[in-house]
Amino acid sequence: MIDIVLLSLLVVIAIAIIRMKDLFAVVMLTGIYGLLSASFFVAMDAVDVAFTEAAVGAGISTLLMLVVITMTGRKEKSTRHKPLSALFVVMLTGGLLIYGTLDMPYFGSADAPIHKHTSPRYINDSMEEIGIPNIVTSVLASYRAFDTFGEVVVIFTAGIGVLTLLCVARSQKNDEEIDSINDSMHQQHLVIRIVAKMLIPFIFLFALYVQFHGDFGPGGGFQAGVIFASAIILYAMLFGLSTARKVINQTFVQVIAALGVLLYGSVGIVSLMNGGNFLDYNVLSSNPIAGQHLGILLIEWGVGCTVASVMVVIFFNFAGRRAFQQHKKQAQDKESSAC
């Protein structure tokens, strides 16, 4: 019953997004949309997915869109781009999909084909073969480990793509200039900087808890990486980008992203060397179950490193671009006022 309420709320928000012109409100609605879909996933017993959707859908994507809006402005032109043909295409695909749903197994029915073919083995045998309670992590990290490897490479590609587009040769600000920015920001955001100082260690702690708790409850490499990166982003927002860059320098973060992917790949190569197939953890140590635990721990660690460092790289490049634009604007104002 609750999922129908949540779904209709989602439809209301989606329609509001169509009608809204102010981009800032639209981005806020996207954040709420992400959070509501995360709570829908909890209602659907998909706890791992809810965790990731909340951290990524509601958190990082809203944050990135807000940074972009500060650079590109809030107003959206109201002219619609040939709406009738768009409506026709949409109605066509919608009708086709509704036609497709007529033969689908009913929602929640236990005798649907997907519950009878591959997943019974995951549910029944995963305890003996892999030995960790969270079946999603065991399928994610062991049965279909290569999918997750592809996914880590997707995140790595996005990080490199954003780097190529937005990286700016940084003008080396000297130290006292950084301190002056730091002090000016200090008295403006006094309260939230104190609270952030209290919170950031707990956020790191929670990220590590989620990283290593992935086997027993919802959690894993992705969620931990995103939470870890959000703590660093909070620090960068409040203490100024240049101080954050001094604390976490760029090349180090890129190296960690590359090492995460290599760690994941080398777990596969080691199992190749030991005679098993690629990413076959049974051969990693004498007892297969211990091998599975070791393999899953290592690749979750690789995933966590890559996701955290790529999210940090993406945010630093967006914020760096914004600082670059403001710097250029000041230079233009100075020379326009001068001549």
């Binding site: 689908m104 999918d147 490479v153 997707v154 190569i269």
Partner: protein, 492 residues
């Protein structure tokens, strides 16, 4: 180590990318990625021999059996595609260092090579895998690195072209995801082999029909088939010329492979060609694509746009061969994939050499290049002749098989239309040749010299391959025929 070849094919370029990021010196990274691509090429040759001798190779990742774990199935079709992709990428990489010297700022060279290796990994991953969802993941890897590579072009239109490609590509990939989801819902498995066994019993349901439509529309978006091709010309014209050379020769072939794999191996021949009039629909769209794209190619002032539209026309030929749904028709399509990769690779590498020397590829800058850059222009001429399908070149072989397939079916008018299409190709190739050989060079282009050796070696290897496979067709035809027969379930 021989047993692990299928996975090493994808893993070597994949692990080479982060290592390149760690090396961080442009010259060293170039040599390392050349080594990785060469290694992938040699593995694909070994794989092809293994498949030709001992039939299908199946490799279970993580040691789990097929429907539960992910499985790599290499048969003639995959091995043929792997050979094309890794071969073209090795040859193109050879000229990369000098070409990006002029087109990409110095500090981004390392990122260029990392993205290049990632898009190579994505394409190899799509072709080698036997798991439906794994296709989607590696499709995203190759598409994301393609968007970033295209956006590295020095003109501002490159950004807009890359954005449009991102929107169209993501809609296509999400359509494929919906199709896979519907298939999974009705059968409960994601392995392609398992799907082909379990789909017939649910084939009559509307959900499987809709999933087939969504997968085909998604793949056609990626394929830039005629009505959905709007993103391709700008993306290929404004991207750095090395990127255009690589994608023009490989990206669309991977999408054609997906189309063939889903219609023949997963949904089965009988289902695909009876539920929808796929034959007439694709035949009409293919022919329409050939004519519209060739005519627009004639009116282009930018030579890269010209050959991008000609690529869309060539895809039209492949779609016509595919829509015949006969063994020879499919052989013609597979042959044309191989030949088109050689032709377009040579032409776009030659254009990269022209961009390196002259700066841009507007038609007016091509005046008098015939005398100033003789070897490069000769390569473009031979590539153009091969596009038209002149005997002794590779284009002739694929046109010949296409015409025999059409004649077998007794469709004379369509065979005549195909020949008319080639006539249009004569027009736009002649436009380039005429400007290059019979016009005086502009005053600012007088002191243009021949392209450096690092361009001429890859260009001329492709041109010689163009001619060699035009004459000695044993390798390409034998592999294409074996692949077509295995798809039709006819034991060779």
């Amino acid at each position: 180590m021989i047993a692990h070849l299928p996975i090493l094919q994808v893993i070597i370029p994949l692990l080479a990318a982060p290592i390149c990021l760690l090396l961080n010196r442009s010259k060293l990274v170039w040599l390392f990625s050349l080594l990785a691509s060469g290694l992938a090429f040699s593995i694909s040759i070994l794989l092809l021999q293994q498949v030709m001798t001992s039939g299908v190779i199946s490799y279970e990742l993580g040691g789990w059996q097929a429907p539960w774990g992910i499985e790599y199935r290499i048969d003639n079709l995959n091995a043929f595609l792997l050979l094309i992709i890794s071969g073209i990428s090795t040859v193109v990489l050879f000229a990369a260092q000098t070409s990006i010297e002029k087109e990409i700022p110095k500090d981004k060279h390392v990122y260029f090579y990392v993205l290049y290796l990632l898009s190579l990994t994505g394409m190899l991953g799509i072709v080698a895998t036997g798991d439906a969802f794994n296709v989607f993941v590696f499709l995203e890897i190759s598409s994301l690195s393609a968007y970033a590579l295209i956006a590295m072009g020095n003109k501002r239109q490159a950004l807009w072209a890359s954005y449009q490609y991102l929107i169209m590509g993501t809609i296509g990939a999400t359509f494929i995801l919906i199709g896979i989801g519907l298939m999974y819902q009705m059968t409960g498995t994601l392995n392609m082999e398992d799907l082909s066994q379990r789909l017939p019993e649910v084939a009559q349901t509307r959900t499987v029909f809709v999933s087939f439509v969504f997968v085909i529309v998604g793949v056609c978006l990626k394929l830039a088939m005629f009505p959905l091709h709007l993103w391709l010309p700008n993306a290929y014209a404004y991207a750095p010329s090395i990127v255009t050379a690589f994608f023009a020769a490989t990206a669309t072939k991977v999408a054609v492979y997906l189309l063939i794999r889903f219609t023949f191996s997963v949904f089965g021949l009988s289902f695909s060609f009876t539920t929808i009039p796929l034959q007439t629909l694709f035949m009409a769209l293919g022919l329409f694509g050939i004519f519209v794209a060739s005519t627009t190619a004639i009116y282009q002032s930018n030579v890269k746009h010209l050959f991008a539209y000609s690529s869309i026309a060539q895809i039209g030929y492949m779609i016509v061969g595919f829509s015949l749904s006969t063994v020879t028709g499919l052989t013609a399509t597979l042959l044309h994939m191989f030949n088109h990769a050689l032709m377009k690779g040579a032409i776009f590498l030659a254009l990269a050499a022209v961009v390196y020397r002259v700066g841009n590829v507007e038609l007016k800058n091509f005046r008098g290049l015939g005398r100033q850059m003789p070897l490069t222009m000769a390569a473009i001429v031979i590539g153009g002749l091969s596009l038209i399908g002149v005997p002794l070149t590779v284009g002739f072989v694929s046109k010949w098989y296409l015409l025999t397939a059409l004649v077998e079916q007794g469709w004379w008018p369509i065979a005549v239309l195909i020949l008319l299409g080639s006539m249009l190709a004569v027009v736009y190739v002649w436009r380039v040749i005429e400007v290059a050989y019979f016009k005086e060079p502009l005053e600012q282009n007088v002191e243009v010299k021949e392209a450096p050796m690092s361009f001429l070696i890859p260009i001329w290897t492709l041109v010689i391959a163009n001619i060699y496979f035009g004459i000695d067709t044993r390798l390409s035809v034998q592999v294409a025929e074996a692949a077509a027969q295995s798809l039709f379930g006819v034991s060779p």
